[in-house]
Symmetry: C2
Subunit: 614 residues, 2 copies
């Protein structure tokens, strides 16, 4: 099982457009805290990442899927090639683009880091789980750790010396994190004795680093039930010596690894802490019982990262399907379908293949824009903090409200679009000779982990909509409204901007319905029943808006170009992405609003016994 | 890799309801050509099939998926247990329920055979490919073969002695069957010399039978291009001796088998015919150039069988997810979500889980009803042939018009619902310990093989809608309309029947739009662009109708039952299946009609170069 050929492909022109032209990352660069960066550096990093993705990660994607991980002598062995890829990833610095210079990073904007991540994920989703978890865990310590903890752990976790994990889930505590039974007993020396079993731990064990730093949620004896009684602990796989180097094993044992539908190169572990009552943990920070809010620093980032995984695979599936459709000949042009002697044509000429391709293109570009927009808000919030706190607060609010959309819509659509790519390939797509069936399998987990998509939807309707007195949602609506006002009579896109306006009205009426239900005990059950639908509606409004915004911009940029300029076709493509979405998706938002208004509670009204006679 | 535990489950009460109460199979039994059958025999066969599915096929489903097929010495070895299962399948007669008594079958109605097939497929989709292909090929010979051919082949293919295949696809000829390059040269003795390569041949080679009878589409030298120049040939793997027993190998060699996303226990073969110029074939029937229409005897049956595969897996996924949701405890009841000390509840109490379960239930029951309805039309057409030819023609017409719906809607929804089952399980559903991830992988091929779902949609809008002067479609609409008229003011379901009426109006307006486009050369491209959408709309009208029909019936049957009768809960369940679908799916038909009316041609308008800058 050796490395195969690379299948990963993307379109850097599209990524550059979204980063630089649509969201103006160039204007952020050169100014604190991104003073070390200019547009040329940013573009060079993206080009280097793409090379690395194609040359190193891509060729390992299928082979790692077939080989999977193995357990030998109680340790996980990762697929062939992962060790060398890990080394190169960190040597070339792709994981530290967005890491603070305080911790050995390059201090770049999140927009850039997201674009880098998209390529790493798209080339090899399973591999990128390991550095992704290390990064996430390090960020928690960078934000919540004591000065000593920051010094001891963060840089080594960010530079690839050590791995990291987040250990929340237990057999009885998945979505219900607060049901965790793992315990922490105070030791006289200030450390804690950790006991418990954690499951579904991604990167829970592997052979890529000399040590793995587990972040473990556990309950200090006597703490209250539920999430409020949980504390977060640093549990290194190997305890640290006085000089900070890894020493003796820390009574963390690998129970088993899961055999899964996809991301087979990523080890999903059962970990047993303290089987011999000798597992030593260190409290993150200095206060007990705040573990859940600390873990949420990681969770928020992880949720955005899952959206990125989604767009990464959907995008890889799109460009592969596009190339296949250009090469594969089958049938005659549909205008000559009655003539069997007409020349056989590439399947991209067939209307339904074009429809599937444009549907993929438009979703991929729209979801990418949504993710980069969220990243832009993060970067601007950082840049404006202390300078214009009101504006910074606005940007932070948009990050809050967009995060569940990015995670849930990004992942739901990813799976659907990867399946659509299989359909474009036909029978070939079902075979392992082509990459799309793996993309489809890999992407199925995205709607589940880091909080199921229903949890995202409940986060949106139960928390984010009302956050800061509802102002985050209101500001989102104002941003969309501002675009509509400015472009309602746009010469090219006026009709579609009006479709966006109608969709936004539908969304607003559904938001009002949710508010009404929350004040009527007989109707509160309609909130969880409608939450997923509402999240999808809001995502569609957001994506439709950003696609039209890009199209308006692209039309302007196109105006000055000569006929022979290759950018003309690119800008033309942005137009069709927006038009397709506005005509085929935006109208469904109003329809969804009508469905919500029906207040159907049938799933609650059906008695349990009526689900089946057996 | 030995047989594991069974995961297959269904609800015979629901199958009995649909067969006997909704579609009255009981009234067909006891009369020619089903005079040998009574209700008790039919029920006994279904109960025996379910036992066999659970005890023999189910335990082999996961193990066959993991093991896959192997090639040794140029032959396919099927997974462990398949040989014994094959033997028992035929000994117990499950494959011959619907086979004519002329060929050693039991002469039962198609409705019964479909219900049997659903259980065989649901328990082990991959295994059931082998007998399915043998059956299909035998039916072609039973209908199109010469008397000698019928005598020589059919019974042995129907009783499990020999296997069978359909060999259409070639590397350059998939959806475009007419591009086949395989050739047939007349031999002096009346046989043909066959040459060519066929790919994606399900059951193309295996170790289950002493011989395999391939039906091969090839072009007699000098025949015209396209499908009209194709003839169909019998090509046995082993040539037959004078006494009909298998003799010398027939120059059919196995090129390779595919490695696939799913149905791994089913061998998907590349077959080379005549590599040594020594492949002897026999023309099916006595006329050349009619191969395509002969093959379509098989294709029509195969398309219905794919719909059955779809409902089989969606149903298995539903009952598994339902049981999991009743057993798995996670979180508190949503009315007490703020109290972490409230008791943990089975996840079936969570609104979104109930929503997913009811969505699955309602689709599964509705699609099953659609398939059994189609089978009922087949049975009635047979029963009335020669007695009431007008009525028989009506029934045959409904089979024509419903076939693409059953294949495409059944398969699209199957994949979507199996993925939804994974979501109900959460992370566990992504793991191979549970059956749903395999159901999802297995079901992805259904939308592709036996004519992609777009081919089904084009068959519907390009052929079936206008067939017999449009009367088949018109009669379908009248059947739906008759139900609406009779139940428009139904006390319980009146609102939902009106939703069906609105959906039907939407469907009719879209049918009119298609008609208009077909007469305007500038708009014909809108037909393939909208075909899939129209097929889905018509399927939703059909399924909504049949669910409401079942609900009306169930309410009547419930009226007389005592409170303690367990059938009450079952009938109550039929009501909620219909209500959920009518409130959540039927309104989208009108929306789809509005989208079609927009006449969006963006997929055709976008230039090829605008799909990507690379």
């Amino acid at each position: 099982m050796s490395a195969g050929i690379n299948h990963y492909k993307t379109d850097l022109r599209e990524i550059f457009f979204t980063l630089f032209e649509q969201f103006g990352v160039g204007q952020l660069l050169g100014q604190a805290p991104f003073e070390a960066w200019g547009p040329d550096e940013a573009k060079a990093v993206l080009e280097a990442t793409y090379r690395f993705a194609k040359e190193v990660l891509g060729p390992l994607n299928a082979s790692a899927d077939r080989e999977g991980c193995r357990v030998e002598n109680g340790s996980v062995l990762t697929p062939k090639g992962f060790k060398e890829a890990w080394k190169q990833l960190y040597e070339q610095g792709f994981k530290t683009v967005g890491v603070s210079t305080d911790h050995g990073g390059q201090g770049g904007p999140m927009m850039l880091q997201m674009a880098v991540e998209e390529m790493l994920c798209g080339a090899n989703t399973a591999f990128n789980m390991y550095p992704g978890l290390a990064y996430g865990a390090a960020e928690v310590l960078a934000e919540c750790g004591t000065p000593e903890q920051k010094h001891q752990y963060v840089e080594k976790m960010q530079n690839g010396t050590w791995g990291g994990t987040m250990c929340l889930t237990e057999p009885q505590a998945g979505s219900d994190v607060g049901a965790a039974k793992s315990t922490a007993r105070r030791n006289p020396d200030g450390t804690y004795n950790i006991r418990g079993t954690k499951i579904f731990i991604s990167a829970g064990d592997h052979d890529l680093t000399e040590n793995i730093i587990h972040l473990v949620l556990a309950r200090v004896e006597g703490a209250s039930v539920g999430t409020k009684g949980l504390s977060l602990f640093i549990v290194p796989k190997l305890r640290l010596n006085a000089d900070g180097s890894p020493g003796q094993p820390n009574d963390v044992t690998l129970g088993s690894i899961e055999h899964k539908m996809g991301i087979n190169g990523s080890a999903t572990c059962v970990l047993n802490f303290g089987e011999n009552d000798a597992c030593v943990g260190e409290l993150v920070g200095s206060v007990e019982h705040v573990g859940m809010s600390q873990m949420f620093k990681l969770m928020n980032g992880a949720r955005i990262a899952v959206g990125t995984q989604g767009v990464a695979l959907a995008s890889a599936a799109y460009y592969n399907a596009l190339d296949y459709a250009k090469e594969r000949k089958q049938g005659g042009n549909f205008t000559k379908w009655k003539d069997p002697s007409s020349p056989r044509v590439p399947i991209i000429e067939h209307p339904d293949v074009r429809r599937m391709l444009l549907e993929m293109k438009s979703h991929v570009e729209g979801i990418r824009a949504l993710i980069f927009k969220l990243a832009m808000h993060t970067d601007k919030a950082r840049q404006l903090a202390g300078k214009d706190d009101d504006k910074a607060a606005y940007h932070r609010g948009q990050v809050e409200v967009l995060t569940p959309l990015v995670k849930a819509y990004g992942s739901d659509q990813a799976f659907r679009l990867c399946a659509q790519a299989i359909q474009i390939y036909g029978g070939a797509g079902f075979c392992k000779d082509y990459p799309v069936e793996q993309y489809c399998r890999d992407s199925k987990i995205f709607s589940i982990y880091e909080g199921t998509n229903h949890i995202q939807a409940m986060d949106l309707v139960g928390r984010k909509l009302g956050q800061a007195g509802g102002s985050y949602f209101q500001q989102f609506m104002e941003d969309v409204g501002g675009f509509i006002e400015a472009n309602r009579d746009h010469k090219t896109f006026g009709t579609e901007v009006k479709a966006l306006a109608a969709a936004q009205e539908g969304l607003m009426s559904s938001a009002m319905a949710l508010l009404g239900w929350s004040q009527d005990p007989a109707k509160t059950q309609l909130i969880p029943l409608s939450a997923n639908r509402f999240l999808q509606m809001m995502s569609e409004v957001a994506v439709g808006w950003l696609l039209l915004d890009a199209a308006v911009l692209a039309e302007k940029s196109m105006a000055g170009l000569s006929e022979s300029n290759p950018d003309r076709a690119f800008y033309e493509g942005k137009k069709w992405s927006a038009l397709w979405y506005a005509r085929n998706v935006l109208p469904t938002v109003e329809q969804s609003a009508r469905l919500m208004a029906l207040e159907d509670a049938s799933p609650m009204d059906i008695p349990d016994a009526a689900f089946s006679a057996v």
